[in-house]
Amino acid sequence: MPADPNMKILVVDDMSTMRRIVKNILKQLGFNNLEEAENGQEALTKLKADTYGFVVSDWNMPVMMGIDMLRAIRADEKLKKIPVLMVTAEAQKENLMEAVQAGVSNYVVKPFTAETMQDKINKIFK
């Protein structure tokens, strides 16, 4: 099913600059219903309080890492089907395997281009 341009998307990263970049790319791709969180814990709180169609998250964050947030999402009955895209500098094979085992929908390695992100989003929502 193609991505709904009106779906609410949560962008999770402890760096404000990265959140701004990801949101900008998503806007250029036609998504305008965007929200932010600074860490996994804050993201989970927001996800439980509202309806989101997609999560884009960093791996290394204070309070709660992205991978732990992903596991919590997949363990929650209400949240488990939300697609999650990891956008991270962790490019080791072990990290990728860990993310796959945790249930990630797709994985983008920093630094990335807008085309790469679009390609990954298209694959998630095809």
Binding site: D13, T17, R20, N24, I25, A89, K110, P111, F112, A114
Partner: protein, 216 residues
């Protein structure tokens, strides 16, 4: 009953036996003494490093401060560039809409095809610039990678500072030939250092430790 008489030779043999029994004790004592002297010399040599160690320890907070400053400045600079890029993107979006409206008007007015084509070309050029603006935005993600590297460096410096301060505390009393109360204080400070091992070093604690051992 009379004691059996001991011949002089036999007495000599007994005396020699007594000396052989003492020799291992004496030898052991001498070796222990040498070991103690060796340890003492080593400790004195190690304590001579406390001044340069202190100098390094005092510079570490400055290094951490510079790194965190670097992270903050690159973050600020990146946000400024993003602000300008976003402003241009917004302008382009408006220009693009206006171009579409003007093209439609010209077509309805049956304007010259060349003119309509020019409008289309303008639209394409805007689109190409929009792509470049997006590339600029994604290139700014370098700042995130810089910030992550800075965070790792700050953590490493923090650990090094902990360890250096432990050395200052351990060898400080020894160098000054401290009395037992000072050695007790050293022990207390080591406990405080240990307590801050997994958190960032409190600058006040670091300064207090250095001050206690005579380093201003």
């Amino acid at each position: 009953m009379a004691q059996p008489r001991v011949t002089p030779k036999a007495q000599e043999a007994v005396d020699e036996d007594d000396q052989e029994e003492k020799a291992p004790d004496t030898k052991l004592y001498e070796e222990l003494g040498e070991l103690a002297r060796f340890i003492d010399t080593t400790m004195k040599t190690l304590s001579e490093f406390s001044a340069p160690v202190n100098a390094s320890t005092q510079q570490l907070p400055q290094a951490q401060s510079h790194l965190l400053n670097l992270k903050a400045q690159t973050e600020q600079g990146t946000h400024r560039v993003m602000l300008e890029v976003e402003a241009i993107q917004d302008n382009h979006a408006q220009i693009s809409t206006m171009l579409k409206d003007m093209t439609q008007t010209l077509q309805q007015a049956k304007a010259s095809p060349a003119l309509v084509q020019q409008m289309a070309t303008l639209g394409q050029m805007l689109g190409q610039d929009d792509k470049r603006l997006l590339d600029i935005m994604t290139a700014l993600s370098f700042q995130d990678l810089v910030a992550q590297s800075v965070n790792k460096l700050v953590t490493i410096l923090d650990e090094v500072e902990h360890k250096l301060l432990q050395l200052v505390v351990v060898f400080g009393p020894y160098q000054k030939q401290a009395a037992k109360p000072d050695q007790g204080k050293a022990s207390e400070m080591l406990k405080q250092l240990e307590a801050t091992k997994n958190t960032s070093m409190d600058q006040d604690l670091a300064d207090e430790i250095l001050k206690q051992f005579g380093f201003s």
